[in-house]
């Protein structure tokens, strides 16, 4: 596997961003939107109800979840959620058996693709659930990821 160079002078695969300021964003306006009760919810249903107003989402094969079958390390599980569905408004990722299932939620602009890739913590073997709000309706898909007790990590 060819690994990229990232500190050399010319970077072929894109520019590295440099911090320009450490100022605060408009804190009140942005933080007011943080869905506290959704993140505190202890069940998938409670989290969905709080965040999206409903616990029913139509299972959809148009949602792809890329995640390992067996996580190498539950603290860093790479997950990519993608869909070809048009008009995606939001993508939410839940880890069903985590103490608080809602891991993250994304609000997309109209020209933003239905695609999110990130890394999540999983406390134990669990379903990863992706809930997509598109065209005003909720759609979901899930994938079971096993989290095992390692030996030595060797």
């Amino acid at each position: 596997m060819k690994r990229r160079t990232f500190l050399k002078g010319t970077v072929a695969s894109g520019m590295v961003g440099m911090a320009v300021s450490a100022g605060l964003l408009t804190p009140r306006a942005v933080l007011a939107a943080w869905p506290e009760s959704s993140f505190a919810a202890k069940s998938v249903d409670a989290a969905m109800k709080a965040l999206l107003g409903s616990t029913s989402a139509a299972p959809s094969s148009a949602i792809k979840i890329k995640a390992p079958d067996i996580a190498e390390n539950g603290a860093v599980v790479p997950i990519t959620v993608s869909t070809s569905m048009p008009h995606v408004e939001s993508i939410s990722i839940l880890v069903a058996k985590n103490p608080s299932p809602l891991a993250c939620s994304y609000n997309l602009a109209s020209n933003t693709e239905g695609f999110i890739s990130t890394r999540v913590k999983m406390g134990k073997t669990s379903d990863l659930i992706a809930v997509i709000k598109a065209g005003g309706k909720l759609h979901s898909a899930k994938k079971t990821v096993k989290v095992t007790i390692g030996g030595c990590g060797g």
Partner: protein, 278 residues
């Protein structure tokens, strides 16, 4: 008491296997490399630097996902900044190394004829600090691991080519490292070789044991388990603890000799640090 037992065990090992002691490092290397190439016939030599990811497709896929944007980039950046920050006396790390310290990890470890000991990169970094009136950094993680990560990064692509000079002291250090590797230790009474040679590719609970061939190539590593960088000696200590053996201090003579042996065994494999591991 434990020490005495370990020395006795090593002596026992030597006593029962005289053939191992008399082979030259070159012979050892040929046998070592040959064993792994035969055990994993579909893995080219240079791929062994990727450890378990060279022998298991499922974990390789996760590793590749992490390598999309690996967390060690943060440490490499920090390391570069530290490397370029002058000491109180105005000098920088560059003054302690050839080529300004760029691409020089391949020189380590080496046997220093003057001091009569094995010098590793991390040891040299602290020697540089002490020489310039700075206090030494801790050897297992943190700033020193970041500097090591930066220096490993600038060395990427060079081929591991450790030399054992025609000096009985160098040979003795190599032999000590080799004996360490094959000696049983700890309550679990296991040697490094039991897992990483005899059982390379097999599972220990849910983990797959990585082959010893190529082990030092990708250090320091960002381990998901550590949530940060760690040096080779941090891992040595961890492994020793995992067989319930008292670990040696990072950069102790034992671990430096072990690194000398282990890195020599990986000659021919590209330097590819820093790496990502679970």
């Amino acid at each position: 008491m434990k020490r005495l037992l370990m020395v006795a065990a090593a002596a026992l090992l030597v006593g029962t296997a005289p053939l191992i002691v008399q082979a030259s490092p070159k012979d050892d290397l040929k046998a070592f490399r040959g064993y792994f190439l035969e055990r994993f016939p579909n893995v080219p030599l240079e791929e062994f630097g990727n450890g378990v990811y060279a022998i298991d497709a499922a974990s390789r896929e996760q590793w590749e996902a992490i390598e999309e944007f690996p967390p060690y980039e943060i440490a490499v950046q920090e390391g570069e900044d530290l490397f370029n920050t002058p000491f109180k006396n105005g000098k920088t790390y560059a003054s302690c190394f050839p080529n300004g310290g760029i691409g020089v990890k391949s020189h380590y470890p080496y046997f220093d004829k003057n001091s009569g000991e094995v010098i590793t990169l991390e040891y040299a970094i602290n020697q540089c600090r002490i020489k310039n009136g700075e206090s030494p950094l801790k050897y297992k993680k943190g700033k020193l691991a970041s500097i090591s990560a930066y220096m490993a990064y600038t060395t990427r692509g060079q081929i591991i080519d450790i030399k054992i000079p025609n000096d009985p002291r160098a040979l003795a250090a190599y032999e000590k490292g080799k004996h360490f590797y094959y000696a049983r230790r700890g309550q679990l009474n296991m040697s490094c070789a039991h897992c990483h040679v005899d059982n390379a590719g097999n599972r220990i609970r849910a983990d797959i044991l990585s082959p010893a061939l190529g082990h030092p190539s990708h250090f320091p590593v960002y381990r998901s388990k550590w949530g940060g960088m760690g040096t080779l000696h941090r891992r040595f200590g961890g492994c020793n603890k995992q067989v319930r053996a008292a670990p040696f201090k990072a950069q102790s003579e034992e671990y430096r000799d072990l690194e000398y042996f282990l890195t020599y065994m990986s000659n021919g494999i590209p330097w590819n640090g820093p790496g990502s591991r679970k």
